[in-house]
Amino acid sequence: MNRIKQLFETKKNILSIYYTAGYPNIGDTIQIAEALEKSGADMLEIGFPYSDPVADGPVIQASSKQSLDQGMTLKLLFEQLKDLRKNVTIPVLLMGYVNPVLQFGVENFCKACAEVGVDGCIVPDLPMVEYEEFYQGCFEEHQLSNVFLITPQTADERIHKIDGLTNGFIYLLSSSATTGKNLEVGNTTETYFGRIKDMNLKNPTMIGFGISDKQTFDKACAYANGAIIGTAFVKAIENGNIEENVSSFMKKFK
């Protein structure tokens, strides 16, 4: 069974962690994945860096740039991920922008994901219409879930369409913002989260953008199947020992 599906069927309050591949050091990708699973992460989103990440705030931009400067490419990332499934059993998604995927070749990309045991992808600047026309067939052939984002401005009709098109989970942005802003659950956010909950979507939902600590994580879990932490984690592993940084970061959510 698909690892993502299995996770959502068996667990509540899912904690998913995003980190940029090849950061802080080019060879850290697998070590971070293993350390995260050991410290209790439920799911991983590994970012493949892009030179012009328009949806990201300064922290993830900087980590992407450092990773690229250190020589990260999609080709290298897939080589690093060859050993992913030796010790990592939780679901793993790749997250990044569409142009590197296009240059790698959509078919090659899907095939490489399947070979190393990647379960799904999040490509924020890949529009639904393009996905349906040029990507969906290939993604499904290799049993990759494609995760779409929705924001407080996304219309109900569009949310239902996204729900029909995806088979992993739906990524709920807490507000229309670039990554790294703090989550403030006020009345509007609550109405929005509540509206989504009441839509009874077929896919589970994960709340992302603005989750940084136990308090914001718990708030998010009240409305969704779990939450995604990116910027706060990338900041936490900037300097020092990976194992120690990961373990002390994850302790905050116990």
């Binding site: 790698f104 401005q153 942005l173 229309s176």
Partner: protein, 393 residues
């Protein structure tokens, strides 16, 4: 119509709207409304009134006599440099600010490279009393100080883009991030025929006044509204698209787009996108862009800040791929020499961007008597420092 946008937002293989979901409502609102608003008679009246009384249109089509003698052809200059604010950029910002008002927007953001689009945006914001934030690369802020001062005088807030190469492409990224964070009350005035659909089409429509006038003026001056050649420089490509627009379907008119070769196309310091680039996605549309094998965007180089962009608009990519347009390139040095030559022969100091188009005349061969139109997209005041340094003036 075969070179125009289709109902899906594409020009052949190029275009589309590759944007994160956070931008979808803004772009969709524009897509659903832009043609309705632009085609409205009241809008057209106000737009053309402002172009006439405020911008100073129609801009002259000037037969450059001494210049024509030198090259052995009739060289007509479309004088966009005489527009208010000194370049073609204002045609688009006038159109977009009126459109933003119709959409009820209260706040305007824009990116700028050389500062010409920033100045043109700040100008129309002052004119219509709207808040204005301009994103500009740190490097460009340094090399275009007079334009930064102009924008500030006009009441705009100039925000330095300090990510990536700190130039035009990064200013564009920062403007997009601003739009993501301000999804309701803000309109983003993109300055070129780039970005997600409907921007390339919308900007082309506003700039198409250039070729609309040119056709009329050519008919008056030569008795024929079709020249043999039309030339324009291309960064993102807005003056070129405006200059080509009404000639695209006249297949006997040769369209020549001049890119910036920088220090030479093979030097590693170039912005010759069609020569160095491959198909890919940048800033919301599928086009041709300079990139690594891994799909990372490569830093361009040109002495002219307005051409220092690693991509071209999707409609240009289509004209290039179909062979309808000829895409060539001119080095930094060739453009500066051409700028000085025009100054000495005609008493017109061109922007270095426009001088790229002029420089290509050196590489053309004429039988004699051909009619050639060149878009003189901007004036050279902003480039005096560069000219002074290069020629030791």
């Amino acid at each position: 119509m075969k070179y125009k946008v289709n109902e899906k937002g594409y020009y052949g293989d190029f275009g589309g709207a590759y944007i994160p979901e956070m931008l979808y409502p803004n772009v969709e609102e524009l897509r659903q409304n832009y043609l309705k608003i632009i085609d409205d008679a009241g809008f057209q009246k106000e737009f053309h009134q402002l172009l006439k009384d405020y911008v100073g249109r129609p801009s002259p089509l000037y037969l450059a006599k001494r210049y024509s003698e030198k090259y052995g052809a009739n060289i007509f200059l479309k004088r966009e440099d005489l527009n208010h604010t000194g370049a073609h950029k204002i045609n688009n910002t006038i159109g977009q600010i009126l459109l933003a008002e119709k959409l009820g927007k209260k706040r305007i953001i824009a990116e700028t490279g050389a500062g010409q689009h920033g100045v043109a945006t700040a100008t129309v914001c002052a004119l219509r009393n709207l808040e204005c934030v301009i994103y500009m690369g740190e490097v460009d802020i340094e090399r275009q100080a007079p334009n930064v001062a102009r924008m500030k005088m006009l009441g705009a807030k100039v925000v330095p883009a300090s990510s990536g190469s700190k130039t035009l492409k990064d200013a564009t990224n920062e403007a997009m991030r601003d739009w993501i964070n301000n999804p309701v009350d803000t309109h983003y005035i993109i300055g070129s025929v780039v970005g997600p659909h409907p921007y390339p089409d919308m900007v082309a429509l506003f700039q198409s006044v250039i070729s609309e006038e040119t056709k009329r003026q050519l008919l008056e001056q030569t008795g024929n509204n079709q020249p043999d050649y039309v030339l324009a420089c291309v960064g993102g490509g807005s003056n070129a698209m405006g200059m080509f627009y009404h000639f695209m379907d006249d297949e006997n008119v040769k369209l020549i787009a001049v890119e910036a070769a920088g220090k030479g196309v093979s030097s590693g310091f170039s912005a010759a996108t069609t020569y160095l680039g491959k198909e890919g996605v940048l800033h919301g549309s599928r086009s041709i862009l300079m990139q690594t094998e891994d799909g990372q965007v490569v830093e361009p180089h040109s002495v002219s800040a307005g051409l220092d962009y690693p991509g071209i608009g999707p409609q240009h990519a289509h004209l290039f791929k179909t062979g309808r347009g000829q895409y060539v390139s001119i080095t930094d040095e060739e453009s500066l020499d051409a700028g000085l030559l025009l100054t000495q022969l005609e008493g017109i100091i061109p922007a270095i961007e426009s001088a790229h188009a002029l420089a290509y005349l050196e590489k053309m061969e004429f039988k004699g008597g051909e009619n050639v139109v060149i878009c003189l997209s901007g004036r050279g005041d902003k480039d005096l420092d560069t000219y002074i340094k290069y020629f030791n003036l």
